[in-house]
């Protein structure tokens, strides 16, 4: 304390007065809890973003109808991931700095999450990674303000692989057609590493990475028809997946190979009549409007029906992911309030409540691990045409528990995969038959 003494004294005085006023502010309930949500409202990925947004609006209405979170109504602010990285970060800052949101839910794209998570950390803003899949964020750094209310790419891929190995253990060749971006590449890296470990004799006959948003897969399909793989994996989604499936179906590729489409739950309603029976489809978690364990649950049914009524479609996994983020938030406020002696918690207390949080959206209950990663069960099955719906449903469902198929906290997924052995094939799963 030499020359800076005066300044330090001033700062101390200012700090003291702030501290004195702080408890007064904290005890007062705000008039609303502002939730900033990053989602795609433009671009190809809006096939996920818009159902996510619709679900958020529906859920906010429901929360407000019953009085809000700890008695405080919620208000939603949406920002568009499709507007590009700079606009998105600027928008995110605007939400935090100008709109003064209390919590954010960002985002769908792994790219957006990689971009926004460190920003949230710097801005000390509670952020729920509500839909992005990259396993890297929590494997590569420690976070206080970022939490993921769902699974990551590793269990999603492991569930698909286990299901394939259980249902069709004797295949010899495989080909992959993934979108050419981080998700497509990373998911294949995880899948192929585990496949090599568990079934080393399988030959990869084609690795195709058409660009994201490619309008035409004719040449890729010709190549697959010529290569005749036993299994074709594609983790594509949205319009790309739909186009690929249509073109492949038209040219008889489904008759030749078993398809594994871990994200196809989100396309089922659109692919009516195009997706034959027997295709392995996943849902990035245990999300399905006919979830065998909950489909008769009143709360579940009312969500599905209200969503269908509002939007004209049954909810797909991004809608369920959004529901999980809201459930996490609700649980966090409740837990923080309880820890606060029933008083309305300030933001930091809500963040404190996040670790180890347990909550349930419209699937099995989820726990936040110490590394802030959510533990979410994985549902996977095969397509089947029924008379009940004008599109294929998922049958022969298996649901895997999360812990059994993902790297433990602090462990890199690829390293964990290298340690897998044949016993992994025995990973238990609950099985369900449609209509039983």
């Amino acid at each position: 304390m030499k020359q800076g003494g005066k300044w330090a004294a001033l700062a101390a005085g200012l700090g003291l007065s702030l501290m004195l006023s702080a408890p007064v502010l904290a005890q007062q309930k705000p008039s609303e809890i502002k939730i900033g949500i990053a989602t795609f409202t433009s671009g190809a990925a809006s096939v996920f973003g818009v159902p996510g947004k619709q679900a958020a609006e529906l859920l906010a209405d429901r929360i407000n109808k019953k009085g809000g979170l700890q008695g405080v109504p919620v208000k939603l602010y949406f920002i568009d991931e499709g507007a590009g990285a700079e606009t998105l970060t600027n928008e995110y800052r605007r939400l935090v700095e100008n709109e003064k949101v209390d919590v954010t839910m960002a985002a769908i794209s792994s790219g957006s999450c990689v971009n926004l998570a460190p920003l949230a950390e710097d801005l000390k803003m509670l952020n729920l990674l509500w839909d992005c899949g990259t396993q890297r964020i929590f494997e590569e750094g420690k976070h206080r303000y970022n939490y993921r209310s769902q699974a990551n790419a590793t269990p999603e891929m492991m569930a698909a692989l286990l299901y394939l190995l259980k249902k069709k253990p004797d295949f010899k060749t495989i080909a992959v057609v993934n979108q050419d971006y981080a998700w497509g590449r990373d998911s294949w890296e995880l899948f192929s590493a585990a496949l090599k470990k568990l079934k080393p004799d399988v030959q990869v006959v084609a690795e195709l990475f058409p660009k994201l948003g490619a309008p035409d897969f004719s040449a890729e399909i010709s190549r697959l028809l010529a290569a005749r793989p036993d299994v074709i994996l594609s983790t594509s989604w949205g319009g790309d997946l739909d186009t690929f499936v249509r073109q492949a179906n038209q040219r008889g590729l489904f008759r030749m190979s078993t398809f594994v489409l871990p994200l196809a739950e989100s396309s089922l309603q659109r692919l009516a009549g195009e997706l034959p029976d027997g295709v392995i489809v996943g849902a990035r978690g245990d999300h399905y409007f006919l979830h065998p364990e909950y489909k008769d649950d009143a709360d579940f049914k009312s969500f599905v029906e209200e969503f269908k009524q509002r939007t004209g479609s049954y909810p797909i996994y991004p809608a369920f992911h959004m529901a999980q983020a809201f459930a996490a938030l609700e649980a966090a406020y409740d837990k923080a309030a309880a820890a606060n002696g029933g008083a309305f918690p300030d933001r930091e207390k809500v963040v404190d409540a996040m670790s180890g949080l347990q909550f349930r959206g419209y699937g099995r209950p989820i726990t936040i691990r110490p590394d802030n990663q959510g533990l979410e069960a994985q549902l996977i099955g095969v397509t089947r045409t029924t008379s009940e719906y004008p599109f294929p449903i998922i049958d022969d469902i298996m649901i895997f528990d999360a812990e059994t198929i993902m790297a433990p906290p602090g462990k890199n997924s690829l390293e964990w995969i290298q340690e897998l052995d044949a016993s992994f094939l025995e990973t238990p799963a609950k099985e369900y038959k449609h209509g039983k």
Binding site: S42, A44, V50, D216, S218, A219, S222, R223, A226
Partner: protein
């Protein structure tokens, strides 16, 4: 090996045919109006959406899916005449005397508006209408199944459009007038050609071709917001490779770029996306006026 080459050639032809339809419209508009229409890709998208909407309407009304073929042409022409015509009359006519940079930007603005408009009108969920593709069934080449629509119908349409354009430009009065304006606007106006009319007609033909490309692509693909953005650069690449304003050249360049792409898928998948731009850069560096373009000197 030869087996694979046949496959790659077929895929290249199918793809090139579609790209040709779009690129030839772009090149025609440029040749006559000297405007590079950045919104050209939006017409491709609008054509696809219009075709799919009409097609789904057919299905809803329970009418024969065969009607979709004539409806494609109707959809394309409707988009070209209504949207293209309005654009030329209301906007482009005001900017013919502006600098090129401003003209490009006007079409860029139109691109932004139309792109957004598609999303507002048709939403974000992919649209499909693959009925016409199914109707024509499959053909088998070297043991590999192809859709007749892609490897027979689309190339035939492309050839028909090429021949029709040639006949129109060489053997009709309207065509002759368009050619005259392309070659020397000053002289053509001096002998009493109504350039305004020629521009309008050309722009409608050009945008109709783009939307026809979109309409014909509709059964093969998912129709999504933003599908025009990539098509526009691709058709630029084709048109520039051929030499802007070159109708027949565009067909050759479209085929070359289609083949380049499909061979890349078979032999070097990493290069697939790069292929059209690599071809374009290489051609332009060697022949700046494009493969078939003619260099002109300024009169002093």
């Amino acid at each position: 090996m030869s087996h694979i080459i046949i496959l790659a050639v077929l895929d290249g032809i199918a793809y090139g045919s579609l790209v040709f339809l779009v690129a030839v419209g772009l090149t025609l508009v440029f040749g006559v109006m000297r405007i590079l229409n950045v919104a050209h890709g939006s017409f491709y998208a609008l054509g696809a959406y219009a075709a799919a909407s009409l097609g789904l309407g057919l299905t809803a009304l329970g009418l024969s899916p065969w009607l979709s073929y004539p409806l494609f042409v109707v959809a394309a022409a409707a988009v070209g005449v209504v949207v293209g015509g309005a654009l030329e009359r209301l906007l482009l006519q005001r900017i013919y005397r502006h600098e090129e940079a401003l003209q490009l930007l006007v079409t860029f603005a139109v691109f932004m508006i139309l792109d957004n408009a598609q999303r507002l009108i048709w939403g974000v969920q992919p649209y499909f209408y693959s009925e016409p593709l199914r109707l024509l069934g499959n053909v088998s080449v070297a043991g590999i199944t192809y859709t007749a629509y892609q490897v027979v119908f689309l190339p035939l349409v492309a050839i028909a459009v090429l021949v029709a354009l040639r006949l129109f430009l060489r053997h009709t009065l309207a065509g002759a007038v368009i050619v005259a304006v392309t070659e020397d606007r000053e002289a053509a106006t001096a002998i009493g050609v109504d350039a305004r009319r020629v521009f309008l007609i050309t722009f409608i033909i050009g945008t109709t071709l783009a939307s026809l490309g979109g309409a014909l692509a509709a059964p093969t693909t998912s129709i999504l917001p933003g599908m025009g953005a990539d098509m526009i650069v691709l058709s630029f690449a084709v048109a520039a490779t051929a030499g802007l304003g070159q109708i027949e050249g565009t067909a050759v360049a479209a085929l070359a770029i289609g083949l380049g792409r499909s061979f890349a898928v078979f032999f070097a998948p990493e290069l697939e996306v790069l292929m059209p731009y690599l071809i374009m850069v290489l051609v332009l560096l060697v022949r700046p006026e494009g493969l078939f373009g003619k260099a002109t000197a300024r009169k002093i």
